[in-house]
């Protein structure tokens, strides 16, 4: 879609449209507010609002899941899509806030302000106005770089930030002086206009390159570094005795375009000289070479922005470069490590260096070692900078690296290439103590002639047998190859080999630690919107979910190539395809649309409000769209749960009482289709429940052996009997209606609040015929015993639930478990288990006397209650 010129207007026009569109809404709301009080809202309307609220909530959840899926690369979308979805979300959220206020007597008017707080920046983000706003920092530490803002920190620093935060490789610590500091520098020195006009006269042919470069560079070097920037530099360089590498990190560098070598790097800079080195690096943005490169690339009209990366100097015994593609033999599937003593400068400069050629396939055999005669080396000069020194004669012909170091470097190189999806040129250093450091990783520049035009890709791939085709949903698009490794339990997590293809039955959250090591992931079940899929996207691991029969077909050790873009799994290593992906296709993850989507998602998808009793569970505490709808849902249900008030307000509404052998006084509010139509009076039995989730849960609760338990010590008996009674009977609670157990249901939905003694269970579940509409949300809190026992129980529950692939959060004695998008039958199994668990937890605090009791209890539970998938998930 054209969004460049006319489109921009269209987008901001949309914002005006939104504002106009909101007016009638606000009016309507004021009308409601003025005309009647909450008490006067008739029940049918409340009832309808509640149903609408549930539907809107569901719709928002689905849109969030949609957005998450889109970031996986299977979809082709453009900016218009992001704008549309954000507008849809805004509309739905307004509906939700309106509904809640109607149900709750306008007690949540603050939420309108919350909506503004969350959506205004989001919409600004989509208009592209947020880039380099005043709030953005002048400097940031490398360890906490905002990864989706390369315009702030430049390409080189952004790549390093990813290496640190996602790949967890050791990178010398440091900080980035941002592009905003660059802008500030230009402002303070009144340079913006002048540079612009110099560039214009150059573009018009009135001045030559050298002259233009000289004028601009001189004026930058003569400028003053703004005080705020100096303060930031001081803040990050407080430690004494440190020398710094000061490098350029221009916006656009190391991305699609590579300015490699065009900009300055200053090595071994003492702290007091950082400001002047900073100016030199800034000025290098306008060197004659940089100017002509920008002219060639058609970038003269665009604003140039330079961030500057400052890293602590590693005094190295050895250093060098890795190429993950051997340019001398591109078809060989090998990488090359160059190494020399001292600083790596001599390698980069093309002087004598050892050359190790290593196979990229496991077990990574070393194919050849050429030891060069290394006569000189670069070392740090005492006062800063570097100097050349002779290598001691006995060392000159020694190999630079031990095998162990080579192993580590190979591992790093492969994970960097896997992550950045391009052949990499990697700078590394080895400190005197033998520790290895990663200095830089950037796209390799591959001269076209080096790679003979490959044979036709479709012909090449047609020679390989296809094992699975056209099955499953893409959670992350890409190509990966390796031996299959199936994981059944967390015991085998540690044995997962680097670069293997992970094949699993379910995408359970406990698999998270091995995602970064996987070349690809194939799951028989699970959702592209689930937790593991999100993690796979973070680490850019090609992932397919919903691949029927994968576990049977793809046995351990079988070598496969997974192309999730085509949804094909090939037998063997399809080297032509891997090469094609690496060299010919752009990494979609770096496209501006995907970056923008990730930024937008950060304001939409994260759930921060987990504990409804936490002090920040308020409209003010909501940080994301997900938080807001979570808050609204919780509060809306809470309103209905306040049954005494509710019944007083709405005399005559039908509330069913469940008659059951299990002594839980459960009241049921049926929104439609949840109770058999033949039911009479106000009592129902379990068989008359037609609501799928409640039916499933009740089967668990009333399963033999769940409720009636082993004998327990006499002195606990009295307490236990009180536990089976509802809250209403417990001391201190005198109100007749207080704390009913209430289920709000429909044919496919259930929201259940169950108070058993001091335990509070909440389950919200949907069982739609289409899996993508399904979820279970389970929350458990409280207990009669001390906090230690309660949290012991919480951890036990967490262990059991995660075996059933729930995503579980534990905070003290609060357990929150979620699962998404499984087919009906599998949701049913899990609700039944939850029913059984609820039955069991009544006695847990008392039985779990020490931590050692947990494994025994787990065993008992799993023996008696067969897990959903015995063969694989345990």
């Amino acid at each position: 879609m054209a969004l460049s010129d006319t489109g921009q207007a269209g987008v901001s026009g949309r914002a005006d449209y939104m504002a106009n569109w909101l007016k009638p809404f606000k009016k309507l709301w004021e009308g409601i507010r003025g005309s009647r009080t909450a008490e006067a809202t008739p029940f049918p309307e409340i009832f309808e609002q509640f149903q609408t609220l549930l539907q809107d909530h569901q719709r928002v959840m689905e849109l969030i899941a949609d957005l998450g899926e889109k970031s996986g690369g299977e979809y082709i979308f453009d900016r218009k899509y992001l704008v549309d979805i954000t507008n849809d979300l805004h509309t739905l959220l307004l509906h939700l806030v309106n509904s809640l206020n109607l149900i709750a007597g306008k007690r949540y008017m603050d939420l309108y302000a919350t909506l503004d707080r969350v959506f205004l920046p989001l919409e600004a983000e989509l208009r592209g106005r947020l880039s380099l706003s005043e709030e953005m920092p002048l400097a940031v530490p490398l360890s906490a770089l905002p990864l989706d803002h390369p315009e702030l920190t430049g390409g080189k620093a952004n790549a390093l930030g990813r290496v640190i935060q996602s790949l967890k490789l050791p990178v010398p610590p440091g900080f980035v002086i941002t592009t905003r500091a660059n802008r500030k520098f230009l402002e303070v020195n009144h340079l913006e206009e002048r540079i612009h006009s110099w560039l214009e006269s150059w573009a018009a042919g009135e001045a030559d390159e050298a002259q233009t470069a000289r004028q601009i560079q001189y004026s930058i070097l003569a400028g003053l570094v703004p005080r705020e920037v100096l303060n930031e530099i001081k803040h990050y360089t407080a430690r004494e005795g440190v020398f710094w590498a000061v490098r350029s990190s221009a916006y656009g560098e190391d991305g699609e375009l590579t300015f490699a070598g065009l900009h300055e790097t200053r090595l071994n800079v003492p702290t007091p000289k950082i400001p002047s080195a900073y100016k030199e690096v800034l000025a290098s943005l306008y060197s004659p070479a940089a100017l002509s490169y920008r002219a060639k690339m058609g970038l003269v009209g665009e604003e140039a922005a330079m961030a500057v990366l400052c890293q602590e100097t590693i005094p190295s015994r050895a250093a060098g470069v890795i190429h993950t593609l051997d340019l001398s033999d591109p078809g060989a599937n090998c990488l090359v490590i160059y190494a020399c003593f001292g600083w790596g400068r001599t390698v980069v400069g093309g002087e004598a260096a050892d050359r190790y050629v290593v196979e990229k396939d496991p077990p990574h055999r070393i194919k050849s070692i050429d030891v060069a005669a290394k006569e000189t080396m670069a070392v740090p000069a005492p006062g800063g900078g570097e100097e050349e020194k002779p290598v001691p004669p006995d060392l000159q012909k020694q190999p630079t690296l031990e095998f162990e170091a080579i192993d580590t470097l190979v591992k790093w190189a492969l994970s960097l290439e896997r992550y950045f999806k391009r052949p990499q040129e990697i700078e590394w250093a080895q400190a005197e103590d033998g520790s290895l450091w990663l200095l830089q990783s950037r796209y390799m520049i591959i001269p076209r002639i080096e790679i003979p035009r490959q044979e036709d890709i479709s012909r090449a791939t047609s020679r390989y047998p296809i094992l699975i085709q056209g099955r499953g949903t893409v959670a992350h698009a890409g190509v990966g190859a390796g031996p299959v490794f199936q994981v059944y339990s967390d015991v085998s997590l540690n044995r997962f080999p680097e670069g293997a293809v992970l094949v699993i039955r379910y995408t359970a959250p406990w698999l998270t630690p091995i995602v970064p090591k996987a070349a690809a992931i194939i799951a028989e079940r699970g959702s592209a919107a689930g937790h593991l899929a999100t993690i796979a996207r973070e680490f850019r691991v090609p992932t397919l979910v919903g691949v029927e029969g994968a576990c049977d077909l793809l046995r351990d050790g079988r070598k496969v190539t997974v192309d999730t873009k085509q949804r094909i799994i090939y037998e063997g290593r399809v080297k032509e395809l891997l090469q094609y992906e690496l060299v010919q296709t752009p990494a979609f993850e770096e496209a501006p649309e995907f970056r923008q989507l990730r930024r937008v998602l950060k304001r939409i998808a994260p759930l921060n409000l987990i504990d409804p009793h936490a002090p920040d569970f308020t409209p003010q505490g909501c940080q994301s769209v997900h938080d807001i709808i979570r808050f609204i849902h919780e509060k809306a249900v809470e309103e209905l749960m306040d049954l005494p008030k509710f019944m007083k307000r709405f005399k005559g509404i039908k509330v069913w009482n469940l008659t059951s052998e299990v002594p839980i006084g459960l009241k049921i509010l049926d929104l439609g289709g949840g109770i058999d139509a033949s039911a009479q009076g106000n009592k129902v039995v379990a068989e008359q429940i037609t609501s799928l989730p409640l039916k499933a849960l009740w089967e668990g609760v009333s399963a033999p052996g769940v409720w009636s338990t082993e004998p327990i010590p006499v002195d606990f008996k009295g307490m236990m009997s009180s536990l089976t009674k509802t809250w209403a009977d417990t001391p201190g609670s005198s109100t007749q209606y207080a704390g009913f157990n209430l289920a709000v249901i429909s044919d496919i939905y259930m929201n259940l609040h169950l108070r058993l003694g001091y335990h509070l269970n909440l389950i919200d579940a949907r069982m739609h015929p289409e899996p993508q509409h399904n979820h279970i949300y389970f929350r458990f809190v409280g207990g009669v015993t001390d906090m230690t026992r309660r949290s012991r129980r919480a951890h036990l529950l967490a262990q059991i639930l995660s075996k059933y692939q729930f995503k579980v959060d534990v905070k003290g004695d609060l357990v929150v478990a979620r699962i998404l998008h499984l087919p009906r039958e599998e949701m049913r199994e899990r609700l039944e288990v939850l029913g059984e668990l609820i039955g069991f937890t009544r006695q847990l605090d008392i039985q779990l006397k020490t931590d050692d009791d947990i494994p025994a209890f787990l065993e008992t539970f799993f023996e008696q209650h067969s897990p959903a998938d015995k063969s694989t998930s345990l």
Partner: protein, 129 residues
């Protein structure tokens, strides 16, 4: 793979669409040219014959509807697939009246467009015998 490769032209002013579609279709065995400027694409169809054209509708300059009309008049055997983010019943109807093979609303899955292209390729091959 059949002996003769079918040629596809992709026209969309969002570079991301071209960048993603080209490899996805090459892997299926097609020869792919991509354009982000409709004027350039228009010149190109004067120079070369394409079996399949995949075009966006709303673009600066010459819009997709006109482009596909030109393409069809130049070579009636060309099959056209429309991809658009502004999918309305009206535009869909108009496209089909102009002889478009299929109409796909953005955002779409790579697999969706691959399926449609495979289908249209089968049709072209069948027609040629």
């Amino acid at each position: 793979m059949s002996s003769e490769k079918l040629k596809i032209l992709v026209l969309d002013d969002e570079p991301i669409v071209c960048k993603r579609l080209a490899p996805a279709l090459e892997k299926l065995g097609f020869e792919v040219d991509t354009f982000t400027q409709s004027l350039e694409a228009l010149h190109q169809i004067q120079e070369a014959n394409y079996d399949i054209i995949i075009t966006d509708l709303k673009m600066k300059g010459i819009d997709g509807m006109r482009f596909l009309q030109e393409a069809k008049s130049k070579n009636p055997a060309t099959e056209v697939i429309v991809i658009t983010g502004f999918a309305t019943l009206e535009t869909a109807k108009e496209s089909f009246q102009k002889g478009v093979f299929d109409f796909i609303a953005k955002p779409f899955k790579l697999s969706e467009i691959q399926e449609v292209v495979t289908k249209v390729a089968a049709k072209i091959r069948a027609a040629r015998g």
